[in-house]
């Protein structure tokens, strides 16, 4: 009976947790554009080092990295993209890419990152059987679509949100230390397998 009760509690907690996850989604700014933003404080490394780490992170994973200082607040921005897929019963293929912009602003002992400007670029199969971007058909992720096409669209929105959350988590790790291939590598540890051990 006790075991049964414990299992019920565990199951109930799991269901509530999943429900909470399903509800999480982008916030929107004043213009109704999707935004994922977070302020991270109590950071005990210098402002310059945080700016350098943000720059390094963006250079490793994104394009068009630009540094500026608006109102005296150092800021680093870059653009990136990630693929989204259309699932079929036999396999999956790329349905398009979603472009986005990452902005990191740094102050004493804290920083703020903002991920925004999500735009879907659809792919279409060309005469050679390959999928390629349909030029000039960018669709902002905030766009509402008809009921006939809503399911796939909502799936892409969900993929974008999950990607953005993951990107934010990776950024937070790299803000505290140098990440990327250009950062100094640890030398490989050597051990001796000789007689004295």
């Amino acid at each position: 009976m006790k075991i049964f009760g414990a299992l019920c509690v565990i199951l109930f907690t799991l269901v509530k947790s999943l429900q909470a996850q399903e509800e999480a989604f982008f916030a929107t700014d004043e213009a109704g554009k999707y935004v994922l933003a977070e302020v991270v404080d109590s950071v005990r490394i210098p402002k310059e080092e945080m700016t350098g780490n943000a720059t390094l992170f963006m250079q490793e994973h994104m394009q068009g990295v630009q540094a500026s200082a608006g109102d005296g607040v150092p800021q680093v921005t870059a653009t990136g993209s990630f693929p989204v897929y259309k699932k079929a019963s036999l396999g999956k293929h790329q349905d398009g890419v979603i472009n986005y912009r990452l902005i990191v602003e740094v102050k004493d002992n804290r920083y703020r990152y903002v991920i925004r400007d999500f735009v879907f670029v659809p792919y279409e199969r060309n005469r050679y059987g390959q999928f390629e971007a349909q030029k000039g058909k960018d669709v902002p992720l905030e766009t509402e679509v008809s009921k006939l096409n809503r399911k796939q669209w909502e799936a892409h929105r969900r993929s974008a949100f999950e990607f953005a959350v993951s990107l934010g988590e990776d950024l937070k790790v790299c803000m505290l230390k140098k990440c990327g291939t250009s950062s100094p590598k640890k030398s490989k540890e050597r051990i001796s397998l000789g007689e004295s051990w």
């Binding site: 390959q130 000039g136 096409n149 999950e162 790790v173």
Partner: protein
């Protein structure tokens, strides 16, 4: 209040450029079916009606297009595409027929590619032609019936080609190809083909194509499309072809205008002028035809339903106006097609 879900660091999917890296086998394709009604009710012994452009040719019948299955994979710098089609559109209506009995499958694409650098790649095998605006797959055309330019041009070119991207606005392809639409060239591979691709501004692409050889002939072709606004698209195809030894040829132009009223509905018009050149060898006079097509695209996820009206007006009496085969200069038809893309 902002809400986040926590995912372990390192869950990052892809933040680099959107070029596909190593991927598993991709399977995609399409299925299509249609109904066509020629208002003259004329039908020949093969069940076809007046307007003789490719596909959508069976009169007053729920007819099959094709099942198209495309396999694709990219590992590192190497990739392949294997693209097969089954059904009338993909079999004898696509000209080639592996079994020679009008009922075999048809290869649309079968090639390997190696991306030497970001700018340069080479491809070898059997490929959909680089010439022309419309293609065999119904997923790549807005209209369901095809143009005269498509019907009379090449469908596939087997060969080897190199492609170089000078910038994101200019690219060049040159290659050596078999005769048009054959798996094997019995004359020795000797057709030369080239393509200059241009992207002057975002949303506008243009291709100048050239292919020449014997006995295939020589075609020069302009294909261009401009997504002028999010909703309005304009396309143009113009071509001139000469068969070898003064055996005729063709020339023509087609204008495509499409307007997307929503993500679920778009309307498109195609206006084409097509001319058959005089065939001096067989002493066949040239003639011409003007074709006007109005098509709708109703999209529901992977399914596109295409209602279409078309009228062709010949310079000469090239059609039949009734079952009794009384000649006439004009023909008209209605098509309702369904295309499922996966």
């Amino acid at each position: 209040m902002k809400k986040f879900i926590f995912l372990p660091a390192g869950f990052l999917a892809l933040t680099s450029a959107a070029i596909a890296q190593d991927e598993g086998l991709s399977i995609s394709g399409s299925v299509d079916t249609y109904f066509k009604y020629d208002f003259s009710e004329y039908r020949d012994d093969d069940g076809n009606s007046n307007i003789g452009t490719s596909f959508a040719n069976e009169q007053n019948s729920i007819s099959l297009g094709m099942l198209n299955v495309v396999l694709e994979q990219k590992v590192g710098k190497a990739s392949f595409v294997g693209d097969l089609a089954f059904g009338p559109r993909g079999q004898d209506q696509s000209l080639l027929n592996a079994g020679g009995d009008n009922n075999s499958f048809h290869i649309q694409n079968l090639y390997v590619n190696y991306q030497f650098t970001e700018e340069f790649s080479m491809t070898a095998g059997y490929m959909g032609t680089f010439v022309g605006y419309e293609i065999i797959s119904p997923t790549g055309n807005f209209n369901y019936s095809t143009s005269y330019l498509f019907t009379n041009g090449p469908f596939q070119n087997a060969g080897i080609k190199g492609e170089y991207a000078f910038s994101d606005k200019v690219g060049l392809m040159v290659g050596l190809f078999n005769d048009w639409n054959v798996y094997q060239d019995f004359n020795g591979v000797s057709d030369f083909g080239a393509q200059l691709s241009l992207a002057p501004v975002e949303g506008w692409e243009a291709y100048i194509n050239f292919v020449t050889g014997h006995p295939s002939g020589t075609e020069i072709d302009l294909t261009t499309g401009y997504q002028i606004t999010d909703a309005f698209f304009l396309g143009l195809n113009a071509a001139d072809y000469s068969a070898p030894d003064d055996a005729g040829g063709f020339a023509g132009g087609a204008l495509y205008a499409q307007y997307a009223f929503s993500d679920a509905f778009a309307l498109g018009a195609r206006g084409e002028y097509f001319e058959w050149k005089r065939n001096k060898v067989d002493d066949i006079a040239g003639t011409s035809v003007t074709a006007l097509t109005l098509s709708g695209n109703v999209k529901a996820g992977p399914l596109t339903v295409i209602p279409e009206f078309r009228i062709d007006m010949g310079k000469d009496e090239m059609f039949y106006k009734n079952k009794q085969m009384d000649p006439t200069k004009n023909a008209s038809q209605f098509v309702l097609a369904a295309v499922y893309s996966f």
